[in-house]
Subunit: 527 residues, 2 copies
């Protein structure tokens, strides 16, 4: 009779854990995705939760020592997202783009991306197999009584782990193995929901809708190539032959979407999608004194800031020269994060720096425009602070992000394939001197801030909700368990149509039968 | 040059208005819908907004004098929702149900409802025509500079008015002219989104999915009969021949949905849908002393409360007798809101009252079960206080509401067609003594309360959001402007299929041509 008492004590201890601080297992993705995940981890830590991060030995950004989390390091390489692979990829992307624009160039870029993702997922499966086969590690993960797995579902590691251990699952998500996270969970009518990469808006012409459907088909191919080939054998091995890997993804409890509707076009969503776009944004702090002095000297003209993100230093030299020459012609002052060779045409008004306090500069009242590559984080910080954008998109989702901003009238895009000093100068001048860019961005900023709760607080609420309630089953449809023809009622419609046709057939036969009877009798009479 | 200054002053005054208190035009629906609307109006009033309510002379609940709002009274009858019409309707509904259950009885009930709605919308069009033709009234409405129209879109009055004056539009909604509000705005796959009235859940067998599709077709007929016939001529007259009335509805800025996912099954939604289910719920206050004494004497057995809502006093006498006799057999005490003839079989444990403080009784720690008709308000209060339900559904959405509660394991339903004292007693005993009912309801209650914001505060935030931002365009898709074949990409798919078929045809013809050429040559050679 001692067992139940023990269980009660265990349950009590367990509830105490979730009240006084949860226990979170994080399976992150390296690179810029980690920058986002770290924001959540640090906030969770500050709220008294303890965090364990799973990382490969060969990694890029994810440090082993941190005051905010402890690590479980798996002795494998980190896949496509290590620095060298990434550098090579970016260089190759720039090369393709500079060789010429157009449809085929875009397809070619997409194919390069698919190849990168293929490698990434292949390496992941190696890592996951190593984890699953390590009985001791798996037992220690089970014994740690985590409350949930927090993961970035651009790769499947966290999903597999959560299901294997039997834990609730929270996504920190923008991209999944199915492209934009929404496509994996919410109905997405292709008539007004543009596919990522298609560079369309929510208002499309017939031709654009055709392109959107073609991009959708391309995504299906991408899933088949990248995911099916890598994940199917793995899932069948560890979860059984009847399990479809997609249903493991779609069973996540909460999707914390790094997005909101100042960024995204309005579209269908689901009850367990929580929008936390801009969760990393915060009010600006004062600048370092020398930078503040430089900024103040800009007078009424104000300052332009340029940064292509922390990942890209490889801007081709001739473009850097053109940009520097264009900046030199402006009355504004320019602060430019530039790590390559110093262009010869840099003007007196331009300060080249290795690093800049991006958030503090964006929030500075003298900042007039942001020359950016269009990474999600930078775009969301620009929205938060209301600074219009001159976009120079390079890789990944940057074209797509900037296209959204252009369609909202808050950004001007220059194409790396065609840009020269005149084109660049024109674009910067437009954003500086046509008032609509700044006005639209200020309006977007007001809308973004006009929410009942700060995005980061909302994210925390729902992570802790999952801890308190051991999931969020009541917000999650299980429709993903249906086959596609059941989901779309194809079987029902087919049956109803068959019945209607059958009834029509019977009526036609009956009428013909009666008709003949009457007609034949008459014939007989006539004879 | 004075004009711009004047405009500035006007704009300034206008912004001051929205800061210090908005100006809201309310177009309500009478009956229980008004009970909900009043909650919003009183809260808006307490926040310093001024409210104007449009009402017909002949009405039911909407009083002309109120400290919370002023009235514009239109000299017409209030349509189907006046008390006499409603009483007749309820009596007729009970009669049909008692004559026997089954599919045809349900269809018959639905048809009665359709007739009632037809009359309601017909009367509304008369009222709206009167308003639109009254140039002086229309001018005064324009001159009042309302910030928005708040309306219950179960009828179209507020929608028409908002578009006519050019004002943002906020819905306080559960039902629309298209049935459940979701069906008018969000994708609703029929494979897991049950139609109201079909009494299904989100997990359906093939047969149930067939029923669901049939109910959908029935809804389409209902729309055609009730709405098209009444609204189309009106819309064409006042908004132009190209305007479809549905696009007026679907253009609403914010949909405050009287629902949440402790009540509703998980399903797709839209960014401008705000869930405020349970917004009318509040902590219980102490009971009147005599009632408290009665309750306390129940000891550990606790209390059962019964109320069929404020609208139904017409419970047939024999059923009332059976219920009273069943109650008499229980050790619990019973508080029963009963306005008809006192049943002879009332036991000593039962207190009949004309009125009861429903919220305070539901929140009382001694309350063990709630015998209810299943109106949305009562069900949501039961969820809020965690009290399991014995359901006796009569009309409207009550069957549907209770069916949802049954599927969540928090309610037992008795059918008015077959109920007798034994069946009723069994149902009450089950809810009292099978722990799952109470446990499930307590869990549902915890989930309902575990939200980042109180539902009423959330509703207020979004109403004031619309005031501040003159709408919520960034949350609202304009996909409703597309035709159905564009929306579902039928044209694109047809074109792509045609191209594929054409290519196949060309290939087949080419192969055949070549084949014949080769074959014929050989033939020639052979000869």
């Amino acid at each position: 009779m001692h067992q139940p008492a023990l269980v009660t004590v265990a349950v009590l201890l367990f509830s105490l854990t979730t009240v006084y601080g949860g226990n979170v297992l994080v399976f992150p993705l390296d690179g810029s995705h980690w920058v986002n995940m770290k924001v959540l981890i640090e906030e969770l830590h500050s709220r008294g939760h303890s965090i364990t991060v799973i990382r490969p030995t060969t990694n890029w950004y994810i440090k082993e020592k941190s005051p905010h989390y402890s690590c479980i390091t798996i002795p494998v390489s980190g896949g496509g997202f290590v620095e060298e692979v990434f550098s090579l990829f970016v260089t190759r992307q720039l090369q393709i783009q500079r060789e010429g624009g157009g449809f085929w160039s875009r397809i070619s870029l997409e194919l390069e991306l698919v190849k990168l993702f293929y490698e990434l997922h292949k390496d992941l499966v190696v890592m996951m197999t190593m984890i699953f086969e390590d009985a001791e590690l798996m037992q220690s993960l089970r014994d740690a009584y985590y409350d949930l797995v927090l993961t970035d579902p651009a790769i499947g590691g966290g999903v597999f782990l959560a299901h294997r251990i039997g834990l609730p699952l929270v996504f920190n998500v923008r991209w999944t193995v199915q492209g934009d996270g929404h496509f994996a969970i919410a109905p997405s009518p292709l008539s007004y929901v543009p596919l990522p990469g298609a560079l369309l808006t929510d208002k499309m012409t017939f031709q654009e809708r055709v392109i959107n459907v073609l991009f959708y088909l391309f995504t299906r191919f991408q899933i088949a190539y990248v995911i099916d080939s890598n994940y199917i054998p793995f899932v069948h091995r560890y979860f059984g032959p009847d399990v479809h890997y997609m249903s493991l993804f779609q069973a996540a409890d909460i999707w914390l979407m790094r997005n909101d509707f100042t960024f995204e076009f309005p579209r269908p969503t689901m009850p367990n999608v929580v929008y936390m776009g801009g969760f990393q944004c915060k009010p600006s702090k004062p600048l370092p004194q020398d930078m503040e002095d430089f900024v103040q000297k800009s007078g009424d003209h104000g300052v332009i800031m340029m940064s292509l993100g922390t990942l890209v230093g490889q801007l081709p030299e001739d473009i850097a020269e053109d940009i520097a020459a264009a900046f030199a012609k402006l009355p504004q002052r320019v602060i430019w994060r530039h790590t390559g060779k110093r262009p010869t045409s840099v003007g007196n008004n331009t300060l080249l720096v290795d690093w800049l306090p991006q958030n503090d500069l964006l929030g500075h009242p003298k900042t007039r425009a942001f020359v950016a590559h269009g990474g999600t984080n930078g775009v969301q910080e620009a929205i938060y602070h209301g600074v219009p954008i001159v976009g120079l998109p390079l890789v990944f989702d940057q074209h797509d992000n900037l296209n959204r901003m252009r369609s909202k009238g808050v950004a001007k895009i220059v194409d790396i394939a065609t840009v020269d000093r005149d084109i660049f100068l024109e674009a910067v001048k437009a954003v500086l001197y046509e008032p609509s860019y700044r006005e639209n961005m200020q309006r977007l900023s007001r809308l973004h801030r006009d929410q009942p709760m700060k995005p980061l607080d909302r994210a925390m609420f729902w992570i802790e909700f999952v801890m308190r309630n051991k999931g969020a089953a009541h917000l999650r449809t299980e429709s993903y368990k249906m086959s596609w023809f059941t989901y779309h009622s194809v079987d029902v419609v087919a049956m109803l149509l068959a019945i209607v046709l059958l009834i029509m057939l019977v009526i036609i036969l009956a009428v013909r039968f009666l008709w003949r009877k009457v007609f034949c009798r008459r014939k007989v009479k006539h004879e």
